[in-house]
C-alpha cells in the first residue's frame, strides 16, 4: 500500500520540469515503466512536453507505444553515435536524458562492452555535445561486486570491484560518464540493485514459479542480505536524481528502504503469492554455500571463453550479500521509497495475472 504522505524531512530545491525528456532503452523493463510514469495519466510523474524514446527497431517502438500514446520513438542504438545525433536533434537546452539502455543477460560477453561501456560513452558524449541540461545514467550494483560479509552494507562511496563481465562493463560505463562530467557534462549516476515490479520480462516469472514450487535456491542458512528495488521506487529515485541540482558527478543507490535476507525474500514472496490465491509449497532448495562458489567459478570460466550462461551467473551471485545503504539518496535527493517487498510483490503478481502470465 502506498504511504499516505511523503516522509521527506527537508526540502530539496528542484530543477523545473524539462521541456523535453529522452529515455534510452525505452522498450526495456525499466524504460517502459519510465515512459508510462512520465507520460500517461496512470503515471506518478506525468509531465508535459516532448517525450522521446530510443528503441532498436519497429517491434520495440510498438511495445513502447503500447504503454503510452504521448511518446515519439526514434529507431537507433547507443552503439551508433549517428543515431544518437538524430535522437537529440532539435531538442531545447532544458532537455533531460535518462539513459537506461543496457545489456544484463547477453548472448555473448562482448555485447556487454559494446552496449554498457561504449554505449554509455557515446550517450554521454552526445548529450554533452548537444548541450542538454542533465543526463541520468542508470548503472547497477555490479561495478561494486558483493559485500565482504553478511553484515556489511555498501555506502554511497565505494571502491569499484566489478563482478565479472557485466560488472566490468558497467564500471567502465560509469567511468566514461564521469570522464564527460570532468569535461563539463551534467550527469548523475543511479545504481539500482535487483529490481522487481510490473512489466517484468519472462525470467522474473521463473522466480515466482521457483518460490511457488519450494525450489528457490537458498545457500547455507539463507542469511545473505539483498537489496532490491520495486520499480515504482526506482522511477521515483530516477526522477529525484534528474530534478535535483548540484549533484553532477555523484552516484546514488536507489533501493527499497532496507535490504532483505534471502530467507525473508522467500518467505515474503511466498506469502504474497498465497494472499493472491496461489498455492505455495513451503521451503526452498537448500544448497551448501560451496555450490554457490562452484557456480561462480563456472560462470567466470565460461565468461572467460566469451560466452554467457544466465542461470549460472544468477546462482553464483545468490550465495553472496549485495546490500546497500540509501541514506545519501534520502538526504541529498529527497528520495523516499514508498513500497516494501510484500506490497511490491503483490503488485507484481497482480500484473502478471492481468497479463495472463502463468506463475
Amino acid at each position: 500500500m502506498r504511504a499516505a504522505s511523503s516522509k521527506r524531512t527537508h526540502l530539496v530545491a528542484d530543477f523545473s520540469l524539462p521541456s523535453a525528456t529522452v529515455v534510452t532503452g525505452a522498450a526495456g523493463w525499466l524504460g517502459r515503466a519510465l515512459v508510462q510514469h512520465l507520460s500517461t495519466d496512470s503515471g506518478s510523474y506525468r509531465r508535459d512536453g516532448v517525450l522521446r524514446a530510443l528503441v532498436l527497431n519497429e517491434q520495440e517502438a510498438q511495445s513502447v507505444r503500447d504503454v503510452s500514446t504521448n511518446v515519439e520513438t526514434v529507431i537507433g542504438s547507443v552503439t551508433d553515435p549517428r543515431s544518437l545525433e538524430r535522437l537529440l536533434d532539435g531538442l531545447p537546452a532544458d532537455t533531460d536524458v535518462i539513459h537506461t539502455a543496457g545489456v544484463i543477460h547477453p548472448g555473448k560477453v562482448s555485447d556487454f562492452v559494446d552496449v554498457n561501456t561504449t554505449g554509455a560513452a557515446n550517450m554521454a558524449n552526445a548529450v554533452h555535445r548537444a548541450g542538454l541540461r542533465r543526463m541520468v545514467h542508470v548503472s547497477s550494483n555490479s561495478p561494486f561486486g558483493t559485500n565482504p560479509s553478511e553484515h556489511d552494507t555498501f555506502r554511497a562511496h565505494e571502491p569499484y570491484n566489478p563482478y565479472l563481465g557485466y560488472g566490468k562493463s558497467k564500471m567502465h560505463g560509469e567511468l566514461a560518464v564521469l570522464a564527460q562530467v570532468e569535461q563539463g557534462l551534467d550527469a548523475v549516476i543511479v545504481r539500482p540493485p535487483w529490481f522487481y515490479g510490473p512489466l517484468q520480462p519472462p525470467r522474473q516469472t521463473t522466480f515466482f514459479r521457483m518460490v511457488r514450487g519450494g525450489k528457490f535456491p537458498k545457500f547455507g542458512a539463507g542469511t545473505q542480505r539483498r537489496s532490491m528495488v520495486f520499480l515504482d521506487n526506482l522511477v521515483q529515485g530516477i526522477v529525484r536524481a534528474e530534478l535535483t541540482p548540484n549533484t553532477s558527478g555523484r552516484g546514488y543507490w536507489i533501493a527499497d528502504a532496507r535490504p532483505y535476507t534471502v530467507n525473508e525474500i522467500i518467505e515474503t514472496v511466498g506469502r504474497a503469492l498465497k494472499d493472491e490465491g496461489y498455492e505455495v509449497k513451503p521451503g526452498a532448495m537448500k544448497l551448501p554455500v560451496i555450490a554457490g562458489r562452484i557456480a561462480e567459478r563456472a560462470d567466470r570460466l565460461i565468461q572467460g571463453t566469451g560466452r554467457y550462461q544466465q542461470q549460472l551467473h544468477v546462482m553464483g551471485e545468490m550465495a553472496h550479500s549485495i546490500a546497500c545503504d540509501i541514506d545519501a539518496a534520502r538526504e541529498e535527493l529527497g528520495y523516499d521509497p514508498q513500497f516494501e517487498l510484500y506490497d511490491g510483490m503483490r503488485r507484481s503478481i497482480q500484473w502478471c495475472r492481468a497479463e495472463g502470465l502463468e506463475l
Binding site: 565482504p148 560479509s149 556489511d152 555506502r155 567511468l175
Partner: protein
Amino acid sequence: MTVLNSPIHSPATESLYDTEILIIGSGAGGATTAALLAEAGFDVLVVEEGAWVEQGTVVPFSLDQMNQQYRSAGVTVALGLPSIAYTEGRCAGGGTEVNSGLYRRPPADVLERWRTQYHIRDLDPDEMYAIAHELETALNVTKVPGKVSAPSMALHRGAEALSWENSESPRWMKYPAGGNASSGQRQSMTRTYLPRAHRAGARIITQCRVRKLAIRGTSASEAAVVLANGQPGRIRFRHVFVCGGAIHTPALLQRSGLHEHIGDTLAVHPTVKLAAHFREAINVPDDVPVHQVKEFAPEISFGGSASNPGLVAMALADNWAEFGHAVNDWQRISVYYAAITSQGKGRVKAIPGMRDPLVTYHLTGRDKQLLRSGLSRLTLLMLAAGADEVYPSYRGAPLVRTPGDIANLQHSFATTKATVMTVHLCSTVPIGEHPRCAANSFGQIRGMKNVWVNDASMLPDAPGVNPQGSVQAFAVRNARRFIETNSPRG
C-alpha cells in the same frame, strides 16, 4: 612500607625472593594490578622480563625502539596461511611504552556480548564506565591541543569527503601548556601505575624471566626464574597474577602444567596496510595519527601507522621492484592500515625446550574478504584525502591513482601475498563462567586457588577497538574483587 628514596626498579639479582603477591609482567594489566594491590596493603613484587627504558632515551616508533623494547626486535610471527606478523612490548610497562597511545573505552555492545556469551558474572557496565572514568583521569586521557598532525588530518579529510564516520581518538598523553600535537608525553605504565605501585611499597625487578610455576594440587607456591645475570632464582609467593600478555601468559601457564582452555583461543585484529603519497610534505616520523575511521566498525576500521623512513620502506617492500623508488620521497608519504575483527582463531602452544611458544593463527574466508575490502576502501579513502598515488602493501600490487585503478587491486589482492600483521593480541585465557573459559569471571584460573590472570589474555574475544582501555578496566575490576575477598598478610 613506603620506600620513597629507593630506586623505582632494580635488576633481579637475588637467588630467592619472598612475597605475598607475585605479579608477572609490568604492562597494562600487571602494572595496574600492582598499584591497586599495593595500595590496599598487600606486599607486592612485580617481575618484568625486559629492561626499564626511560622515555626520551629512544625515538618513539623507531627501529632502535623495536630493538630495545620489543620482543625479538619486533620480529614475531603467528604461523598459518598467511602467516601473521605480530609485535609485543618486552620492557617495563610492556605494550604501553610502544603502542599508539590511543584510548578507547570498552564498547557497550562488547561488554554485553562478553556478559551473555561468556557468562561473566557481575559485569556491570555502569561499574566498568566508572572505572574507565578513573583511568581516564589517572592516565590523563585527552585530545591533541590545537591542530592534529598532517597524516591524521588526511584521514579526517578523506573520511569527510566520503561522509564516513571518523573521530579523533583521545590518548593518554600529557601536553605542556601551549604545547602542540607533537609535544605530548605518553602516560605509559612507567609514568603512572608503576610509580604508584612503588610509592605504595611494591618492589619492581626487571630482567627476570619466569620459567615456570611450581604447582602442587590446587596451589602454586613458587616461581622458577632466570635472573639478570643468567643464573637461576626462585620467588616464593602466596598468590600469583600472570600478566605477561596474550602470548606469554598462556605459555607460562602451559609450562607450569595448566592446559584446560589455555592458549586455544588467541584473538587478534589482523591488519593490512598501504603507503599513500601526497603532493605536499606529510610525513611525521616519530608519531602516529590520532584519527580513526569507524564507518565500517566493528568489522573494519582505518587508521594511521608509524611512518618513519624505515617503516615507509617496509610498507613498499612487498612490491619493491615497482614501488621501491618512492621511498626517496618519504617526506610526502604516510602509512595507513585497515584492521578487521577476525572470526579466525589462533593457538599458543608452549614447546618443551623452546624459549618461545609456537603461535598459529588461521583467517577465515570472511576475514580474507574483509581484508580485501578494507584495503580497497582504505585506498579510496586516501584518494578522497588527496593522495595522488597509493601503494598497497602486497606482492604484485598495482599502483593506484584513480578510483578505476582500485578494481585491479580488488582482483589481484590475496592475503597470501600480503604482510598481514597484528597488534592487539588477546583472549588466550578467557574469563567467564562458561565451560569454555579458562578462568572464572574475575581471572582466577579454573581449579587453582591462587593463580590469576589479569592482562589482555583474559578478554573473552577481540574488542574491535584499541584494547588497552578494556584491559585496564577489567584489571581494576578484578583487582578490587581480589581485595574484597582476600586480606593482606599481617
